[in-house]
Amino acid sequence: MITLNSCLAVTAILFALGLYNVMTRKNAVGLLMGVELILNAASINFVAFSHFNGNHVGGNVFSLFLIVLAASEAAVALAIVVSIYKQFGTINADEADSLKG
């Protein structure tokens, strides 16, 4: 029952939900949560592939790097969000448009 295919199906649903979240949100923090969903789906996929490939360690290490990169991405993105809120008074992604020509 717990095969590679079932894991891949679950993570595909997770990925699609994250993509839906990224496409529909205006709120920048909401967008970031969608990105986190997508990254988690990828991370589970790496671990699943490595588990069903004889517990190979490469997928685990890659998933570890992915977690670290997600942490740094979240730190920088949330800093930018707070900074934009101080500048514009809103964090809707379509209203911080002072670079628009």
């Binding site: 949560m33 671990v47 004889g54 685990n60 290490v61 570890l64 920088v76 707070v82």
Partner: protein, 170 residues
């Protein structure tokens, strides 16, 4: 019957993860989205335990649940009037996003599950072996350069975040 127990745990964790991910995607208030994200990340940690990588599960709980989620909730609380739905979590492009997401999910599931993957069983007679020592060896042997690079990336990102949000001192 151990296999049945494992199947039941898989179904339970999969259902929990997908339901809370749907909570993240469809919730009207961004704070509720953040709390649903807690469920999704915990479900992912459960997946890692089921897939016998204990170290990744512990790292997931420590970094995602303990760090990133707290950071997100702080950002929500610093930037919004939390109760206001209209301000906090507007939904746009609904009619475009639903068909694209559903089509992508169907396409991914049908493609991934129709392929024939070659599966190898875990080596050794024991059904469970800890992954901590192999990961440590791999990080300090063949993955030494990415390990050092990622530490520099993390340092740069954290210092950069501090620089971005600090108050200007004139």
């Amino acid at each position: 019957m151990m296999p049945d127990l494992k199947d039941a745990a898989f179904l339970l964790i999969a259902g929990f993860t997908i339901v809370s991910a749907a909570g993240v995607a469809f919730s009207r208030k961004v704070l509720y989205s953040a709390f649903s994200l807690l469920g999704t990340l915990a479900g992912a940690a459960g997946f890692f335990i089921l897939l016998s990588s204990d170290f990744i599960a512990v790292t997931q709980v420590l970094i995602y649940v303990g760090g990133i989620l707290i950071l997100i909730i702080f950002a929500v609380m610093l930037t919004n009037k939390i109760g206001d739905v209209k301000l906090t979590n507007q939904v746009v492009n609904y009619k475009v996003a639903v068909p694209i997401s559903v089509a992508l999910a169907i396409f991914l599931i049908s493609t991934l599950t129709s392929g024939v993957w070659v599966e190898k069983d875990a080596p050794g007679a024991s059904p469970y072996t800890s992954m901590v020592a192999p990961i440590g060896n791999a990080l300090l042997k063949e993955y030494l350069l990415p390990f050092e690079v990622v530490s520099i990336v993390l340092l740069g990102a954290l210092v950069g975040a501090m620089v971005i949000v600090r108050r200007e001192v004139k």
